[in-house]
Amino acid sequence: MTRIIPILIYLVLAPIIGGLLDGIDRKISARMQGRIGPPLLQPFYDVKKLLHKQKISVNKSQSFLILCFCITQIFTGCLFYAGSDILFCFFILSTGATFLVFASAITSSPYSTMGASRELFQMMVYEPAVLLACVGLYLATGTFNVNEMIQKHVSAVLFLPGFFVAYVFILTIKMRKSPFDFSTSHHPHQELVKGVTTEMGATNLAIYSITEWYENVFLLGVVGIFIVNENPLSYLFAVIVILAVCFLETLIDNTCARVKWNTMLKSTWLVTLLAAGVNLMVLMLGR
């Protein structure tokens, strides 16, 4: 039972929180650009409208794969909030992401296919940092199990500053923020039209947006894991850190220009190696 309640809470609250964060992001972005910006609830209006449009698709299997992507990502979040193995969560997450790649590639449309290979490339770029974050959490807490991780005396981040930096760095890729938003972007200005989402219209795009909300809540939850310990106050602190990370992402998004793939690969792997790798070395040699 104790595992079902967080899952239910996640299922209900994640899209709300994810959507709100999206709305806040758009609002803050607009303010940074000297505009008033859309209403806070704009992401929900968008999804509502998309659901009311005519159902369209380019390829028969497209909607099927997008739905697979959606359910797999939600499933990952459920596993995570139910407190299971974090490494496993990320493995399932990457399976889900491959469904997205398939959904885009199956259309054989040029923009979408290129978006798909870029998405795949992004996956390759962020995967090491993600796996290393799991390894770091394991080294700091002695378990891969999320439930046990959050019941330690001290926050894991104290041992894992490098891993945290690397994880936040790749969060920029994962959350599709500039400068690393090159498979698709939230802004409509991209050389690839809309990248992976080019051929998604109406319902499919709505499902994609909702999935993204779920996914973001999961990814930010992992940020929380770095902070949370047995002290209830740490939850509050975790929320503050998560919001700070979100703000940081928005800020980066608005101040950086999109980079090319090789810059992305080199910078991300360098940061991963320097921050997480050095941290790993310190932790392991210290054991």
Partner: protein, 150 residues
């Protein structure tokens, strides 16, 4: 009947215009006019668009393109012709290569006059288009419902 007014996404197509109207359309996105406060997004993808903004007249080369992009948009959809050229062909009307306004190819709902059309006029047109979009969305919903009943 869902309220879809709050999220009209635009697709901007530049026909054979002199770029005057296009600059004015883009001006609507700047901090001065900021159409995003109405939830308007200038998307580049017909699959995701609700309102098609056309500037400039239709010529022999782009007629099929406009037709295809219009077809790719999911229903309900609204077309706005921005500027005189898109409305009627404007000063280029008698050119050898010009067919005329946007309505020679696709059904246009809202005509925004001007050469170039002012941002205020464009926003005005878009707001009108949004009303129409809501109306069509309601019709679309009703149609879907009756289909389901059958």
């Amino acid at each position: 009947m869902a309220n879809v007014k709050k999220s009209p996404w635009l697709l901007h197509y530049d026909g054979s215009s002199c770029n005057g109207c296009d600059i004015e359309v883009l001006a609507c996105l700047t901090p001065v006019y900021d159409v995003e406060r109405f939830g308007i997004v200038n998307t580049g993808d017909p699959m995701q668009a609700d309102i098609l903004l056309i500037t400039g007249g239709i010529n022999y080369q782009n007629q099929s393109i406009v037709k295809q992009i219009y077809d790719q948009m999911p229903r309900p959809k609204v077309v706005v012709a921005v500027g005189v050229c898109a409305c009627t062909g404007g000063v280029f009307k008698e050119c050898y290569n010009i067919l005329g306004g946007a309505d020679t190819i696709i059904p246009v709902d809202i005509y925004v006059p001007g050469c170039a059309a002012r941002p205020q006029a464009i926003i005005d047109g878009v707001i009108k288009a949004v009303e129409l979009f809501q109306q069509r969305s309601d019709e679309h919903d009703a149609l879907e419902k009756s289909k389901k009943k059958k």
